[in-house]
């Protein structure tokens, strides 16, 4: 898998080169090199930074020049990569953007808009018993059950009707590494997004119920998050955030109950006895960060830690646990009681194959080709099959399956979740 470090490095390198050869550049070109990558092509905001129009509209020239010189390190904005002599020309273009934005006031209001979080209604805590033996309608583990079989007992979609599978819903996701497998509980989908936020979505429509947006030191950290799965126990949702923090969110509201530092980002599993067990990738981390650890699910207290970076096991706290399914495969298969195997190939095709014969019964083409976790669940008696497709990030480039390279600036969404179901019966 491509390391996202390349991405950050390339951006840095290109902006350095940019600063050296800008004497002849117009204000628009200066803007494109120094601002557009984060704030979007027209300054109205991208995935990496908000709209700059409100600030430009609200500040005098001197204040803006000073701001461009120093940046806003606390919020991750570097000083503008523009030579001192070129700053007035850049400023002129910023003023032009404001003057030509026929909706500055609207942009101002959009700037203030935060996710409008609601509560998950009628939330039922997930107890150890339902974790051991999940409701067929739910998907509570990265591979549905603790034995990691990735088998769904749902059989509404089967070999006889899978050819009629239609798109129930889809939702664009922000740019970043898409390696997550959502959970579904009681008709609510919990998803770690490619930008390392966590969302609770209505699993029948993809409409958000709440979103937890964690403040990361910089956008690259968020985008390289590779939390493979979330875990649930009682009313908490466990998320291994890419800033090396284990976060326990209240599943009803998305608010943080507790958080605790860990090694590098990684995967989370849940133990029946109330422990959160966590493993992670330590490829670029100090050796000390290579460990598996268990935390008290309710308080976040460290119970034990198994150091995997040394020759001998090193325990602290309680005894070692066998951890079920610590390493979800990068590219999953899904088997269902409808005698179907769902899988995707490298060319964006997503297929349903008859388990007995291997015959392809249904096929569609998704927006991206990187294999991600898929799952099936049911809400109100309707069975859904969900798959996430994303595309790898490269500098200034987005590759969507077998489509050619197309420019990718800030604000691009290059992942989506697709959810399929059988047609609903005609209205009576």
């Amino acid at each position: 898998m491509m390391r996202p470090v390349l991405f950050a490095g390339a951006v840095l390198a290109s902006s350095c080169a940019f600063a050296q050869a800008q004497a002849d550049l117009s204000g628009a070109e200066l803007f494109e090199g120094a601002c557009a990558a984060c704030h979007g092509a027209n300054g109205r905001g991208g995935q990496m930074a908000p709209s700059l129009l409100p600030r430009v509209a609200g500040e005098q020239d001197a204040g803006l020049i000073a701001f461009l010189r120093t940046g806003n390190p606390e919020r991750g904005m570097p000083p503008a990569a523009v030579a001192e002599a070129q700053l007035p020309r850049l400023l002129e273009h910023l003023r032009f953007l404001v003057a030509t934005a026929d909706d500055v006031e609207t942009a101002l209001r959009a700037e203030e808009a935060q996710p409008r979080n609601r509560m998950v209604e009628n939330f039922r805590p997930v107890d150890a018993k339902s974790l051991r033996d999940p409701d067929p309608a739910d998907w509570l583990w990265f591979s549905r059950t603790p034995d990691a079989q990735r088998f769904s007992p749902l059989d509404q979609i089967d070999t006889a009707n899978v050819r009629t599978l239609g798109l129930a819903w889809s939702r664009g996701l922000p740019s970043g590494m898409s390696e997550a497998i959502p959970l579904v509980h009681d008709g609510v989908m919990y998803l770690a997004t490619p930008a390392s936020s966590v969302m609770a979505l209505d699993a029948t429509t993809g409409d958000p119920i709440w979103e937890y947006r964690r403040a990361y030191a910089d956008d690259a950290t968020a985008r390289q998050g590779r939390a493979n799965t979330l875990s649930m126990l009682d009313d908490l949702l466990y998320f291994a955030a890419p800033d090396a923090t284990l976060v326990a969110l209240e599943a009803r509201t998305g608010t943080v109950r507790w958080e605790t530092g860990l090694g590098e980002y990684g995967t989370v599993a849940i133990d029946f006895a109330g422990k959160v067990i966590l493993g992670g990738d330590c490829a670029t981390a100090p050796r000390d960060d290579c460990f598996i650890a268990a935390y008290d699910a309710h308080t976040g207290a460290l119970l034990w830690r198994l150091d995997t970076g040394h020759g001998s096991a090193d325990f602290s706290g309680a005894s070692a646990k066998r951890v079920d399914g610590m390493a979800p495969a990068n590219g999953t298969m899904l088997a269902t009681a409808g005698k179907l195997i769902f899988w995707r190939d490298g060319a964006r095709h997503y297929r349903a194959v008859e388990a007995d014969s291997g015959e392809v019964l249904w096929q569609t083409t998704l927006g991206g080709s990187v294999p991600m976790g898929d799952l099936t669940y049911a809400v109100n008696g309707r069975q859904y099959v969900a798959a996430i497709a994303g595309v790898p990030l490269a500098p200034q480039t987005s590759i969507a399956g077998d489509t050619p390279a197309v420019p990718l600036g800030a604000g691009a969404v290059d992942a989506a979740i697709y959810v399929f179901a059988l047609p609903e019966a005609p209205q009576p």
């Binding site: 628009a28 070109e29 803007f31 494109e32 557009a36 979007g40 092509a41 027209n42 109205r44 991208g46 995935q47 026929d102 909706d103 006031e105 609207t106 942009a107 959009a110 996710p115 409008r116 599978l165 239609g166 798109l167 129930a168 819903w169 889809s170 939702r171 664009g172 996701l173 429509t205 993809g206 409409d207 190939d345 490298g346 060319a347 569609t364 083409t365 927006g367 497709a389 200034q396 480039t397 987005s398 590759i399 969507a400 077998d402 489509t403 390279a405 197309v406 420019p407 990718l408 600036g409 800030a410 604000g411 691009a412 969404v413 290059d414 989506a416 697709y418 399929f420 047609p423 609903e424």
Partner: protein, 589 residues
């Protein structure tokens, strides 16, 4: 010009190989040739009477009806629609409408890119990338391409009209059209590509032009405002030439092969305010038509020469940036406008009289039906509703002369007025279904609250619901009976859309909104028959075509200029931004 032809990767290509190939393409523009197989040249006859499987221009046919004669997908089976393929696109605006010819889709992608795709699978045959600054490419708003012979005509965001080889995507010619903003698209008539554009700030760019599709040479040019001494000059009351601006930035025009006339809509007069154009005096031009010609007018032009045959002005001396550009729909109907639904009816009209009609719904609201041979006024009515804030005071039904509400013109510094309507149908294409003799349009019941500048603050504005309107009926779809003018509303709710209407012979109406919902309705009664939820905001686009005998519905989602503004009316929505994607649906095989 840079061109990146492309072949599809081998099906079994490994992930690593694929990444390497992708990187090579991105960095070195490796030429891997692929071309459209068995290309069939497009003739004028095909444009006038297209194969039902094709979608050869922005609204499918010259009459801009946006009606597909395909009926494999119909009211009885639309519930079974499945996703045939989908594709994630790059960043930028998505305000465009694909073309389809012989199973190949030609479409403007975000970032000033044109692609030819296999319309059945989404595989790319070729790609042309216009070499423009990334910011310019991402902000491009080209509405459509046009096709003739073996040439694709593209109005690129750097003000060039560009001819591409439809087989390979190689550039044949490029002709600069001043510094015009190429937010519109071409319509090709008899080998001439006719284009408009945005011209804000510079009257030199305010023109419609025709370019020879074979050579790119400009054949004629029609300035949308008269210079001193030219016909219509008196309507400007001596305003300086550069204060006489009116653009054609939106959806292109339509054409009637029988009458040999081209119909093109012109946008508001600029600078935006009457006082700004007329020496500081808001009364410096008329409040009845004609005033500040040919702003907010329908032009009937000879497509061979660009000569004006007739004009009709919908809004005299605009003060509020209400555009009456966008498509003119041509249809033939018996006319019995019913006074219960229609406010202004030409008294000379005999009940049941058949006319060749041109109908349009401007952004500022209202519906107009004109005789398309003469420009004679037939009927008009307020739309989406009659309201005290509707800018139109009255129309003389005998002459069609329009008078605006003087009260709504801004006259003093720092005063605030609410003017209806604001982008009620914006640049979302309308559709006409001959089976129901009805025009289908989306609408938003919203207005513009405008505050003039004073010593303390510059001019400001915001979009607001119409005063006294129902917040749960902020937007909807309307079926407008072209014989009687009766309006039936359906899909009424809180959420405006940015998508096109599409009607089909399957008696279906397709429309998508900015809450990701893409729906099919029964064209006869507006009943909701099918709905899915896409990844982002539905934007313009929606078409139907057939490839290898299978009917498809294609729709694009993504960013467009109006999205931020419209989302401000729906703070409860959480539409993902930037989800530029193409979704294609079909019945199971």
């Amino acid at each position: 010009m840079m061109n990146i032809p492309y072949s599809k990767p081998e099906a079994k290509m490994t992930h690593a190989t694929w990444l390497i190939r992708a990187a090579a393409l991105a960095l070195f523009s490796t030429a891997v040739c692929a071309q459209v197989p068995n290309y069939q040249s497009v003739t004028q006859r095909m444009l006038e009477n297209p194969d039902p499987a094709d979608w050869l221009m922005f609204s499918r046919t010259y009459d801009a009806q946006r009606y597909s004669p395909l009926d494999e997908i119909n009211v009885d089976n639309v519930r079974g629609l499945t996703l045939a393929w989908t594709s994630l696109l790059g960043s930028g605006n998505t305000e465009t409408i694909p073309l389809v010819h012989d199973g190949v889709m030609y479409v403007v992608m975000p970032g000033a890119i044109v692609q030819a795709l296999n319309a059945a699978t989404g595989e790319v045959f070729w790609q042309y990338t216009r070499p423009v600054a990334q910011a310019l490419g991402a902000s491009a708003r080209t509405k459509n391409l046009a096709i003739f012979g073996d040439t694709i005509v593209y109005t690129a965001p750097d003000s060039y009209v560009v001819g591409l080889d439809a087989r390979t995507g190689e550039m044949r010619w490029e002709t600069q059209a001043g510094t015009r903003g190429h937010t519109s698209g071409p319509l090709i008539v008899d080998g001439l590509a006719i284009t408009g554009g945005a011209c804000s700030g510079n009257r030199d760019n305010c023109y419609i032009a025709a370019h020879d599709v074979a050579t790119g040479k400009e054949a004629w040019r029609f300035y949308t405002t008269p210079a001193p001494g030219e016909p219509g000059d008196e309507s400007w009351h001596g305003a300086p030439l550069n204060n006489r601006q009116a653009s054609t930035w939106g959806l292109p025009g339509s054409y009637d092969a029988a009458s040999g006339l081209l119909y093109w809509g012109v946008a508001n007069a600029m600078p935006d305010h009457r006082a700004a154009r007329h020496g500081g005096d808001p009364a410096g031009t008329g409040i009845s038509t004609p005033a500040d010609l040919y702003s907010n007018s329908t032009l009937a032009l000879n497509p061979k020469t660009g000569r004006l045959n007739w004009y009709y002005q919908h809004l005299p001396g605009d003060d509020w940036d209400l555009d009456a550009t966008h498509e003119r729909v041509l249809l033939d109907t018996a006319l019995t406008p019913d006074p219960r639904y229609v406010k202004w009816i030409n008294p000379a009209l005999q009940p049941g009289e058949r006319r060749d009609v041109m109908v349009t719904v401007p952004e500022g609201g209202g519906i107009w039906a004109l005789d398309r041979h003469s420009g004679e006024f037939l009927w008009a009515t307020p739309f989406p509703y009659d309201a005290p804030e509707f800018w139109l005071d009255h129309i003389d039904p005998a002459t069609g002369t329009v008078t605006l509400k003087w009260d709504l013109v801004l006259k003093e510094p720092g005063e605030t007025k609410t003017i209806c309507y604001w982008n009620t149908r914006s640049y979302w294409p309308t559709s006409y279904h001959p089976g129901t003799n009805s025009l289908y349009t989306s609408y938003s019941d919203v207005c513009r609250e405008l505050t003039s500048a004073n010593a303390e603050h510059p001019e400001s504005w915001r979009v607001v619901p119409r005063p006294g309107s129902d917040p749960n009926a902020l937007a909807g779809l309307a079926k407008i009976d072209m014989a009687t003018g009766e309006i039936v509303r359906f899909d009424v709710g809180r959420v405006p859309g940015n998508g096109a209407l599409l009607t089909t012979a399957g008696n279906l109406v397709f429309h998508g909104d900015m809450n990701r919902r893409f729906k099919a309705f029964d064209a006869r009664n507006g009943e909701l028959l099918w709905e899915t939820v896409l990844g982002g905001n539905v934007s313009v686009s929606t078409i139907s075509y057939a490839a290898d005998g299978r009917q498809y519905i294609a729709v694009m989602t993504g960013e467009n200029l109006k999205l931020t503004e419209l989302l401000s009316l729906n703070p409860e929505l959480s539409t993902p931004r930037g989800h530029n994607a193409l979704y294609v649906f079909a019945l199971p095989q």
